[in-house]
Symmetry: C2
Subunit: 421 residues, 2 copies
C-alpha cells in the first residue's frame, strides 16, 4: 500500500504541479474565490468524492459568537466540501485548507506577476503558493492517491476548501455549522513541515488615547496625546510580560514570547506645531491555548483602565476590538493523531519531527473549539514567505507532505481489508 | 493732534469695519492673495501713499538663506507696499502685516461661512479676522488718521501688506530685499494688546525612526519602530528641558516652557499584526531670541545621534527640516520704540501695558535680523482664535490699537510743526 501510494504520487507530480500553477493564476483574494473553488470542486469530482458547493449564510452562522468577518454576504464566495464516505467502523478525519489569499501588496516588490504561478527550480511561485494552495494540494494528492490506488477506508475523509481564513475563519465556521466535522483534523498551513499541536490565537485591538489640543508654542496649555500614548504602550509591554510569565507549556520552551502583544500601528496629531489631542494605536494580542478571547479582552481593558497617570485616570483610553480574530487551538502532544503524524513523518523523511506551538492562529482553533474536531497543523511551505512578495513553495515538500498525510489517513481512518482487493 | 486723531477714528469706524468685512469675504489663502491685495492697494491710494504692487521673485530672493516657502513662483500673489515720505530728519517706521490666511479647516466646525465677514455684537467674524486682517486695519487707520488730519511727519512711514507669513515669511523677506526697511517696525499680530519685544522663532522637523519588520506573532524577530520612537520622544523631552533651563530672560519669567519642543504628529506601521519598521515624528522646535536656526538644528540632530539605545546607536534616526520656519526676533525692552508704545498704551487705555515674549514666530524675526529693522509685535485680537474655527476680532480693540499706533508713529517719526499748519 505504502509503495503504491509513493509510486502514484511520483507519477502524478507533474500534472499536480501544473494544476497548482493554475490555481495560483486563478487569483482568490477575498471576494474572488469562485474561480479557484470551481477548480477544487472539479478536482474533487475527478478524484471521486461527493462534492457540495455552497455560499455560507444563515442566521445561526452570522450570529454565532465566533463569527468574525468583514462582511455578512458571501454571495460569489462559496465553500467547497468533498466527502469520501468510509466503509464504517473507522475514525473520520477533516482535511481543512483555505483558498483565500491576502492581497499582493506593492507590485514593485515582486520579481514576477504575483499571480504568475511560475514553475522553476523546483518551486511554484505566486501569491497563495505557500499560504496555502500548496498545502491544499498535499491534502488533495493524499486523498487522490488513496482513492485511485483502490484503498477502502473505514472512516470518512472530509475535505474543506474554505473561504475567509485570512479574516477570521467564517468559512470554516460555516463548514462546522453545516455538520462537516470529524474525529480529528489536519490543516496543512505552512509550518515548514513542523507539527503544531498547539496554535496561538489572536485578536486585534484599537486603543484611542486622548489629550488636549493647543498651539505648539504654548504646548504647556495642552496635553500631548503622543506623550500619553507612551504610557499606554509601556503598560501594554508590562501586560505582555505578565501574561507570558505565567505560560509553562514546554512546547513554548524555545519561544521568547509565547503570546506577544504587538503594537503594529500608531497614528496621532495632524500638524507639527499643534499639540496632538488624539493618538490611535492598533495591535494584535496573542491568545494562549488555555485562554478564552473574553478573558484576554478583559485583561487588556483592565490594564488600560488602571494606567498610572493622573490625566489618563480621568481620561481613560478607549479600547475597541476590530478586524480579525483567531481562536487558539490545542490538542495533546500524545493525542493519537499527533502520534500517527509523527510516526509517518519519521518513516517518510527518515528524520525526527519537530513539535512546536504555532506563533499564529489558524482555523484549527475553530475546528477544535467550535467543531469538536481536534486539529493538528502540519504542512509544506515557510511562514516567512506567506503574506510577502515573491511567495513560493517547494514542490518536493508538497509531495513529501502529501505522502505523510496519505499514510496518516490510512492509520487514522483504518483500512477495510476485505473490500480492499 | 491727539484729540483730532481720536475724533477722526471714531468718525471713520463704520466705514472701516465694512471694509474689513469686505477683506475677509475676499478669501486669501496661499495663492489667492490677489483680490485682497487689490483692496489694500486701493485703500493706500485713497489715503494718499505711494503704492507699489509687485510679485516677489528674483535670484537673490529665492536663494536667500532665510528664504522659506512651499513655492518659488509667486505669480498672482503680489506684495503691496505703501510709502508716505516724511519731510526729513525723523525716524522711519515700517508697519508690517500679512494678508495670507490659513485654510478654514473643517467647515462643520464653523457656525457661519468661514469667509462671511459677518459683523455682530461688536465683532467681525471670519478666517483672518484676528490673524491678521483686523490688525492690518489698525495700522491702515493709524496712517489714514494721521494723513487725513493733515499731520506732516518727519520720518517715513512704510506699510507692508505681505504674502506668505504663514509659511515662513517670504513676502516680508522680499520687501526687505526691495529696500522697504526702516528704523523700526510694528507688527499688529494678535497679541491681545500685549507688547512683545521678543518673539520666539521656530522650525519644523521630521524624525524617521527605523525598526525591523516581522510578523506580530513572532515580534521578537523584529524591532518595533514604535518602541524605538519612544526613546526618541523621551530624548526630545530631555532636550527641551536642557534648552529651557538655560533661558534667563526675565520676559519669560511667567512662561512654563519658553521655547517648547512640540511633537505634533506621529505615524508608524501599517498593519496591527506586523512589527512596525518605520515611525515618522513631526514637530516644531522653538528658537530662543539669542539663537541661530543653525545652532538649534545642530543641537537637535546631535541629540538624535546620541540616543542611549543599542539599536538606535547603529540605526540612527534621520532628521529633516521641512515646511515653515520663523526667525526669532528681539528688541530691547528699553528700546525707544518699546518705550513709546508703552507710554501711548497707558495714555489711550488708562492701564499698564503687559510686556511679554511671544510664544510664536512672526515676520518680526526677519525684519530685525535680515532687514535691520527692529520690530515690536503689538496688536488687537487673541492668539487662541487664530487658526481656529469661528475666528473673530473685537472692533473696539481694532480702534484702540489704531489710536495707540497712530500716536506711537507721531512720537517715533516726529512731527514737522512748521509744515503742520
Amino acid at each position: 500500500m505504502k509503495k503504491q501510494i509513493s509510486a502514484y504520487l511520483a507519477e502524478h507530480k507533474d500534472e499536480a504541479v501544473a494544476w497548482l500553477s493554475k490555481t495560483i493564476k486563478e487569483r482568490s483574494e477575498q471576494g474572488l474565490e469562485k474561480g479557484v473553488q470551481k477548480l477544487v470542486a472539479d478536482r474533487l469530482e475527478m478524484i471521486g468524492l461527493e462534492v457540495t458547493t455552497y455560499e455560507p449564510g444563515g442566521e445561526e452562522f452570522i450570529n454565532h459568537p465566533y463569527f468574525c468577518a468583514g462582511r455578512t454576504d458571501f454571495t460569489g464566495s462559496p465553500n467547497v466540501i468533498g466527502v469520501w464516505k468510509g466503509t464504517g467502523g473507522g475514525r473520520s478525519i477533516v482535511l481543512n485548507g483555505h483558498v483565500d489569499v491576502v492581497p499582493a501588496g506593492d507590485l514593485k516588490d515582486w520579481d514576477d506577476d504575483p499571480f504568475s504561478g511560475a514553475v522553476r527550480d523546483g518551486r511554484v511561485y505566486g501569491r497563495g503558493a505557500t499560504d496555502m494552495k500548496g498545502g491544499n494540494l498535499s491534502s488533495l494528492l493524499a486523498i487522490q492517491a488513496l482513492k485511485k490506488t483502490g484503498c477502502k477506508l473505514k472512516g470518512d475523509v472530509v475535505f474543506h476548501s474554505v473561504i475567509e481564513e485570512e479574516s477570521g475563519g467564517a468559512g470554516t465556521l460555516s463548514a462546522i455549522l453545516k455538520g462537516f466535522t470529524a474525529d480529528a483534523a489536519i490543516i496543512p498551513e505552512p509550518t515548514n513541515m513542523k507539527i503544531f499541536p498547539v496554535q496561538q490565537g489572536s485578536m486585534w485591538f484599537k486603543i484611542t488615547v486622548k489629550g488636549k489640543s493647543a498651539h505648539g508654542g504654548t504646548r504647556y496649555e495642552g496635553v500631548s496625546a503622543i506623550e500619553k500614548s507612551m504610557v499606554a504602550v509601556n503598560a501594554l509591554l508590562q501586560l505582555e510580560k505578565k501574561r507570558n510569565d505565567r505560560i509553562t507549556d514546554p512546547l513554548y520552551r524555545n519561544v521568547p514570547i509565547p503570546v506577544p502583544i504587538n503594537i503594529g500601528k500608531i497614528t496621532g496629531g495632524n500638524w507639527p506645531s499643534s499639540v496632538p489631542d488624539i493618538v490611535v494605536i492598533e495591535g494584535r494580542i496573542g491568545v494562549a491555548p488555555n485562554e478564552s478571547l473574553e478573558m484576554v479582552r478583559e485583561e487588556l481593558e483592565a490594564a488600560m483602565n488602571e494606567l498610572d497617570d493622573d490625566w489618563l485616570k480621568i481620561h481613560k483610553p478607549a479600547v475597541e476590538w476590530f478586524g480579525a480574530q483567531w481562536l487558539p487551538g490545542a490538542i495533546k502532544t500524545d493525542h493519537d493523531l499527533t502520534k500517527v503524524i509523527m510516526k509517518r513523518f519519521e518513516e517518510v523523511t527518515s528524520s525526527a519531527p519537530v513539535i512546536e506551538a504555532s506563533p499564529w492562529g489558524t482555523d484549527g482553533g475553530l475546528l477544535t473549539n467550535a467543531g469538536s474536531t481536534p486539529a493538528v497543523v502540519f504542512g509544506p511551505g515557510v511562514t516567512g514567505l506567506a503574506h510577502y512578495h515573491n511567495e513560493y513553495i517547494e514542490i518536493a515538500k508538497i509531495m513529501e507532505a502529501a505522502e505523510i498525510i496519505a499514510l496518516t489517513i490510512l492509520d487514522w481512518c483504518g483500512v477495510d481489508e476485505i473490500e480492499g482487493d
